[in-house]
Every structure is written in structure tokens, then in C-alpha cells.
Symmetry: C2
Subunit: 235 residues, 2 copies
């Protein structure tokens, strides 16, 4: 009987963790699809192949997330299905019209998504945290984008200013996605709040704290600024 | 001096082999892109995930083909670039209008392409032959299609007859691709002729023999008929 109780307590404790894993898994599935579509329209074979490899890499990361969900007793498909529409609004509002915009959209969008997932993973202190941090530590796609866009923007002030504007639109939309996620998913809000270094406000009953929100958005914006600087673009 | 001579003789001998590896590599890259696009529009998460895995699997196979091209002293990108337009006509002429047609198109198209590459690989008697046979031995995608379409067609005679017609169009177009490949790539024609059990016609100077062509198309058609039978459809 003790074993049953402790196992069901475990399951309850793990539900925020499973929520986060579901989000990370869905984002990997979306990354797979996007990167494959980018690969299909890449201007040269070199980029087509690199994007194909990144895309396949997202499937490999998805499998590791699935393994962890199973270890925790969750259903992989159930966990990711919950977030199947997470990027629909973002996509609807940000149709990219050329190759540079496509690259920048992925760079900014994945950047914010990864940073958010890492902030939530910081609320965990176990194998899942390590897995999420490691899964989202892929910098190769960013390097491709930096190599392509930094060079393009350097010689073309008009392009640089257009891309800077596009980057601002992208980050605004991406932060909007984060905003609605922390509002609609209390589990993610709890993880983000738990991951913040400041002590949790007990009076707030464990729900998402306004200071935690402010710190999260401050951090996401700072990371975005750093990413745009790498491209030589103003954020 | 002997070493240099034998190395350049080797390179000359290997050129048909590199041609075939280039074709197989390009077909894997195309399969990656197609399967990812199919995954993106799959009607359910289960199929979306399966197709994502097949798509990522094509990239893994592509890497093995690239390794072999490098071993033989060739350029992976150069080898596949030669075939970058191999499916353009096929695609232009066969826009699929729904999920069943999409699945069947891939099933028939990859089926014929794989059979052709295996027929050409039979003209080699080394590690490349084994690699190509093994690379193209993936039956998982076929199983997905059989499971989906056999069930769908069984309960719906109109759908079954429409798919049978679509299958006939697909195989006609696919055989057209093979036809233009053996005409435009003498190396592939040589390999197919060498792979045929009948003795080569020396008077024909090693070029593609009419009997070899007849046998090849006979075999490709027979394999196609078998594949359509698995779906319960007439070919």
C-alpha cells in the first residue's frame, strides 16, 4: 500500500514536469517540420544539407524527451498533443517573405522558446532539468543563421534595417506566445517561479508571481538583444 | 608511380559506382523533404510522428551514402548535385490532392526508385552494393501506407478505384523517370546491364542493352504490381 501511495504522490509531483516535457517535445516536433521546410527552399545545397541535419537532430531530441516522459509514467503523445497549437497564432501572424526572414524567424522564435523552456526547467532539480538543458543546448542552427545574416547585413544597410524591424516583430510575437503559455498553463508558471532565484511569495499560493513574470520577460528580452547583436542588428 | 597509376585506375573504375551513390543520396535527400512535408499535413499525431521518424531516417541513410562516397574519393555534394532535378518533372506532373494520394505517390515513387537503384547496385560486387541494398531495405514506410490504404480501400469501392487509377499514373511517371535516367546516365545503364543475369553482349560495347532494358522494366513493373496487390488495388 505504501508503494502505491508513494507512486501516486510521485505522479502528482511530476505533473508540472510532464507538462514541460510535453512543451519541449512539441517544440522539437515543430522545429523538425520547420527546419525541413527551410531545407526544401534553401538557396544552395550546402544549406539544404545543414538544415536537413538540424531537422533530423530535432527528431533525435524528441525521442529522448519521449523516453523521459515514459520513465515518468506519462504518455508521450498525450504530453505533446496538449501543445499542438502552441505556435499557430505565431505562424499566422508572421509569414516570412524571403530566405533571410525565414532564417531570422527561426533564430528568434527558437531562441525565445528555448530560453523559456530553460527558465521553466530551472524549477526542477533532477534528470529532467539536465535533459532539457542539454536538449536545448544545440547552437548549430544559430551558427548557420549568424554566418548567413551577419554577412548579408554588413554590406547592405537597407537589408540590415529591414531585418532589425523583422526581428522586433518576431520577438514581440514570441513573447506573446510565452505570455499566453504562462497564463494558460499554471504548471509552467510554477516551474518558472520556482526556478527564479528570489524566494517564492507564499501569500501568492504558489501561482505565477508578478515579480517572477517581470524577471522572466527581462531575461528573455536580454537574451534576444544578445542574439540580435551577434547578427550586428539592433534589437 | 605504380601506386599513383593504380589509384587513378581505381578512380576511373569507380565512376559508375559514384554516379549510383550520387543518385541514391539525392533520392534520400528528396525522401527526407517529402516525408517531412507529409508529416506536416498528417491527419493525426501518430502518423505525423511516424513520418517524422522515417524522414529523419532518410538523413541517417544519406550520411552513410556520403561516408561511402568519401571513402571512394568522391565529393558527396558533387555526387548528389548531379541529380538535384531528377524528380522535378515527376513532381510537376503528379500534384497529389489528398492524403491518400500523397501516401500512394510516395509508396509507388519510392518503390520504383528503390527497385531501380537496387537493379543498378547489382552491377557492383563490393561494399557499395551491400550498402545500397541495406540502405534501400527500409520497409517501414511501406507498412504505414499498406496499413492506411488497404483499410481505406476495403470499405470504399470508389476510393479503391480512384487510388488504383492514381497508382497507374504514378507508376507511368516513375518509369518515365527511370527511362530518362538510363538514357542520360550511361554509367547507370552499364550497372543495370552488368547486374542482369544474362551474359553481356560484347558487340554492344558495354552500352545499355535493349534486352537489359526490357528485363529491367519488366522487373520494375512486376514489383509495382506486387506492391499494389498488398494494398488490395489493381495495378
Amino acid at each position: 500500500m505504501t508503494a502505491v501511495t508513494s507512486s501516486s504522490t510521485l505522479a502528482a509531483d511530476r505533473s508540472d514536469e510532464l507538462t514541460l516535457l510535453g512543451l519541449v517535445g512539441q517544440l522539437e516536433l515543430i522545429a523538425f517540420t520547420r527546419l525541413a521546410a527551410d531545407s526544401a527552399v534553401a538557396p544552395a545545397l550546402e544549406q539544404q544539407l545543414r538544415l536537413a541535419r538540424f531537422s533530423a537532430g530535432a527528431v533525435a531530441r524528441l525521442e529522448r524527451i519521449f523516453d523521459r516522459i515514459r520513465e515518468l509514467g506519462g504518455s508521450p503523445q498525450g504530453a505533446i498533443a496538449r501543445f499542438s497549437h502552441v505556435m499557430d497564432d505565431f505562424d499566422l501572424r508572421t509569414p516570412s517573405s524571403n530566405w533571410s526572414e525565414r532564417l531570422l524567424k527561426a533564430y528568434v522564435g527558437y531562441g525565445v522558446a528555448d530560453d523559456f523552456c530553460k527558465a521553466a526547467a530551472a524549477g526542477l532539480d533532477d534528470a529532467t532539468c539536465a535533459l532539457v538543458m542539454e536538449t536545448l543546448d544545440g547552437t548549430s542552427h544559430a551558427e548557420l543563421v549568424v554566418a548567413e545574416l551577419a554577412a548579408a547585413g554588413k554590406d547592405d544597410a537597407v537589408l540590415a534595417s529591414r531585418l532589425a524591424l523583422w526581428g522586433r516583430r518576431m520577438v514581440g510575437e514570441a513573447l506573446g506566445v510565452v505570455q499566453s503559455l504562462v497564463q494558460s498553463e499554471p504548471g509552467l508558471a510554477r516551474l518558472v517561479a520556482d526556478g527564479e532565484p528570489a524566494p517564492a511569495d507564499e501569500a501568492n499560493g504558489g501561482t505565477y508571481h508578478i515579480d517572477a513574470a517581470a524577471r522572466l520577460f527581462g531575461r528573455l528580452t536580454a537574451e534576444h538583444t544578445y542574439r540580435m547583436e551577434r547578427l550586428g542588428l539592433t534589437s
